[in-house]
Amino acid sequence: MGRLDPPQMEELTEQQKEIYAAITRSRPRVSGPFGVWLRIPRIADAANKLVNSIRDTGKIDKRRYEFIVMIVAAHWTASYAWAAHEQTAKEVGIAPDVIEAIRTGKKPNFTKPDEALIYDAVTSLLRNRKLPDDVYEALLKTFGLEMTIEIVSVAGIYSMIATVINGFEVPTPNGERPFQ
């Protein structure tokens, strides 16, 4: 059980129903952090648009996106985010042994250089709370400035999501406990 009950359709106000409909245009259901945010339609609407601005209209490809989500979810031990994304991460081409290493807090053996670089950048940002010059320069050289902006924005947005998941102890969909 999480700290908040999931939203019940019959209890929603008209404004909440509108936001519910907007969120489910790009998601199968209103769950996880969006279940928390739905209590305040203004916040739910803004959060939905922010996430969609990169998830749906960003240029970052799905593999890199889901790869960052895995790193961020594991860093914050945000079980809901991990459980909601792990299958997708596999489907978009992240190697199972890479996913497993991230889950258990080990450095993966990368076969893809872009994943190794993104791992170094995001891990440094989250653990050391800074980004060394050489890693920034490598990001810029490999991906260019616009993609670097997207990469670190995904890390930031999912850190924000992880904070909400942790603050409200949002439960995993099927009781999964990926970090225990």
Binding site: R39, A46, S53, L131, Y136, S153, A155, T163, G167, F168
Partner: protein, 180 residues
């Protein structure tokens, strides 16, 4: 110097001009993270709107909002955001000795219970990656569920802003480093 130079206003696309005007309307000017996010106008637009939605909390007054912001800035050593929000915190009524204690990584001697609760929620989430039942319960008693959604979301939002600013090493306007 920031790692990413601000865009020349003369080179903005119509979409970037529209978003820049919206940001400037809400924040007086386009500064800090928004100068960089503006390269991706959809991200800039919705990062701005989410921040404004949180700032307009119906439960947390501006004093508590700015206290959250500076506490997150300290946790991530975000020089730029500290330099713009520490004066805002003081103007909104956070005591100077509280601000100085946060800046110096000391636990403030709070005179107000609501500030102590906000500080405890923020530091627990950022330092321990979880929120104890005792602190959660105290916060819900003080602010209600809706205030708690605003509070936790604001912590997460400024973690995102911090990650972004650290990625680009955005300096303070004068180049000083208030956070040691």
């Amino acid at each position: 110097m920031s790692r990413a130079a601000p865009l020349d206003p003369a080179t903005l696309t119509p979409e970037q001009q529209r978003v820049a005007a919206a940001i400037a309307g809400a924040r007086k000017n386009v500064r800090g993270p928004f100068t960089i996010w503006l390269r991706n106008p959809a991200l800039a637009e919705h990062a701005n709107a989410f921040g404004i939605a949180l700032r307009d909390s119906q439960v947390l007054d501006r004093r508590l909002f700015e206290l959250v912001v500076i506490t997150v800035c300290r946790a991530w050593s975000v020089q730029y955001a500290w330099s713009s929000h520490a004066p805002a915190a003081e103007a909104a009524g956070v005591a100077p000795d509280v601000i100085a204690a946060i800046r110096d990584n000391r636990t403030p001697d709070f005179k107000r219970d609501d500030e102590r609760i906000v500080y405890d929620v923020t530091t627990e989430l950022m330092q321990t990656k979880e929120l104890s039942a005792a602190t959660y319960d105290r916060a819900v008693q003080q602010f209600g569920i809706e205030g708690m959604v605003d509070l936790v979301s604001t912590v997460g939002y400024y973690a995102m802003v911090g990650i972004f600013l650290k990625s680009f090493d955005v300096p303070t306007p004068t180049g000083d480093r208030p956070l040691k």
